[in-house]
Symmetry: C2
C-alpha cells in the first residue's frame, strides 16, 4: 500500500497516540453569547518531525501546521468540516479516544442548532465533559 493515500486506520492510531480532541470556549465579545467556541483536533510532534508531519497533513489535505516556540510543531484542524471528516473516517478504528470523538460530533451538531442563550448553556455544559475525558490541568472552569 502506498503511504501517500489516506490511510484512515493509520490516522486513527496516530490520533489515539499523539492527537488531542477538544473544544475551547474563549471569552470574545464579538460573538453572540460573549464566547467563541473553538473545536479542534491537534497532533503534536517535535520540530525534528516537521517535514514528515507536513507530508501527512498534505496527504490528508486537512488543517495546517503551526510551529510553537518550545520546539513543538502542531498539526491543527480547527475547521468543522475537517474535524468531521477525520472523526467520521477514524471513529470505527479508534480505541482510546472514541468518547472524545463522539462527544465532538454531538457538540458540532448542537453548535449548528444554537438558537438562544439556553441552548448555549446546554452546549457549554456538554463541552465541559471534555474535562473528564481529557486531562488538562490548565483548563479553567467558567460560569456562563
Amino acid at each position: 500500500m502506498s503511504k501517500n493515500t489516506k490511510n484512515w486506520s493509520y490516522l486513527a492510531g496516530f490520533l489515539d497516540g499523539d492527537g488531542s480532541i477538544y473544544v475551547r470556549i474563549k471569552p470574545n465579545k464579538s460573538y453572540r453569547f460573549g464566547f467563541q467556541i473553538a473545536p479542534t483536533i491537534a497532533f503534536f510532534q517535535s520540530q525534528k518531525e516537521e517535514e514528515k508531519l507536513k507530508l501527512l497533513q498534505k496527504d490528508f489535505g486537512i488543517g495546517y501546521l503551526r510551529k510553537r516556540n518550545d520546539g513543538i510543531v502542531e498539526w491543527i484542524i480547527g475547521d468543522e468540516q475537517g474535524i468531521k471528516t477525520i472523526i467520521q473516517n477514524t471513529i470505527l478504528f479508534l480505541r482510546l479516544k472514541n468518547k472524545q470523538a463522539k462527544l465532538m460530533l454531538e457538540i458540532l451538531k448542537m453548535k449548528s442548532k444554537i438558537k438562544d442563550k439556553k441552548d448555549f448553556i446546554v452546549l457549554a455544559d456538554k463541552i465541559e465533559l471534555f474535562r473528564t475525558l481529557n486531562y488538562s490541568k490548565k483548563r479553567k472552569k467558567r460560569i456562563y
Copy 2:
C-alpha cells in the same frame, strides 16, 4: 471492521504517535561483554487508559503492561520475536519512525551474530545511532 483484530496500520499510527523504539545498553557483568543489550518497543499512556491499553496488548498478544509510579502505564515489548513481529507488520505503514524500525531490525540481526568483542563494539556503535533518531536528554554516552 472489528476492533479486536490485529489492525497493523492502526498500530503503525499508534507507534508513530505514542511509541518509542530503542535499545539500551546496561552494564552487567553476568553478560559476555559486560553489557546487557535490551531492545524495546514501548507505548506510554495515562493510567486512565490502562484498560484500553490492556485490550490492545491482548489483541496483539505481544508484550506486557507495566505501571509506573508517575501515573503512566507502559506497554512494553522487550522480547525479540515480539519486536520483530511488530516492526515487520507495521514498517510499510510507518511515516515517522521508519528509521528507528529499520535500525532495530539491523541491530537484532547483528546481535544474533556477535562472535567477539570487535563485533560487540560495532553493534554498540550502531546502537548509538538511536541517539540521533530519538531525543532523550538523559541517555549517557558510554565507552566500551
